[in-house]
Symmetry: C2
Subunit: 139 residues, 2 copies
């Protein structure tokens, strides 16, 4: 785990610092998407609010995480798959938000179907967010 973390940071030419390691581990452990507030809560007073902002921003720029648009306007961040190149995300997968537990998942193996746009419209990127009940809350 610690190895995976430092490797990821190294691969993106970021220096290995405590806050970066910690924040990255939050994502790996949770398996779901996190909001700025989630991280702040998890970390308590370990590091500064500002550091979280800057770290998340850096991670997005480097292609380690990506943002997920949500209906309620909170920004969510989730780990990118390995083939996200710097400045060029491959986010064409489905995001799922559970209405029960409020977790957000990247359904990487569910791909977004092509949609037919009206004449004159050209698609560059597509974002699909499904909300409902996840497999943990099901029953």
């Amino acid at each position: 785990m610690q190895n995976k973390i430092t490797n990821t940071l190294k691969k993106h030419q970021l220096s290995i610092t405590d806050s970066r390691k910690k924040i990255l581990s939050f994502f790996l452990e949770s398996g779901s998407a996190l909001a700025h507030a989630d991280i702040e809560q998890k970390s308590s007073t370990e590091f500064d609010r500002v550091t979280i902002y800057r770290t998340l921003q850096t991670f997005v720029e480097k292609g380690i995480i990506h943002t997920i648009p949500t209906a309620d306007n909170s920004i969510l961040y989730a780990l990118c798959k390995d083939d996200c190149i710097e400045g060029h995300h491959h986010d064409d997968h489905v995001h799922f938000i559970c209405d029960e537990c409020n977790s957000t998942y990247c359904l990487d193996h569910v791909s977004i179907p092509k949609v037919k746009l009206p004449k004159g419209f050209t698609s560059v990127q597509t974002n699909l967010v499904v909300s409902g009940v996840c497999n943990k809350c099901e029953q």
Copy 2:
């Protein structure tokens, strides 16, 4: 136009006030989605920032407008089609954001294809946002 506006407000049991009429007219005129900031800019000093917040919130509650999640975390609002019932939006259509002119459109006639979710996941709502180049910026 003025008729349509007052009718819409009446239909949702809202009292007809200047700010509501004005804000509703912005949506009808623009034809695309608007952010809080857009409205503030259009209205200049006609009415208070707080009134805009409250009006947008009321409109969303009443089903006159709905929010659109965007990647850059700005909240956008757009008119609902007539069959949005209070507290129960029918937003299952595609939203399109133009990277050139930054306008957002509701493509009401483009429906969202069903996606197959992993076992245990149940879909309640689906949100599809496509970004690219719109028909006005095309060429």
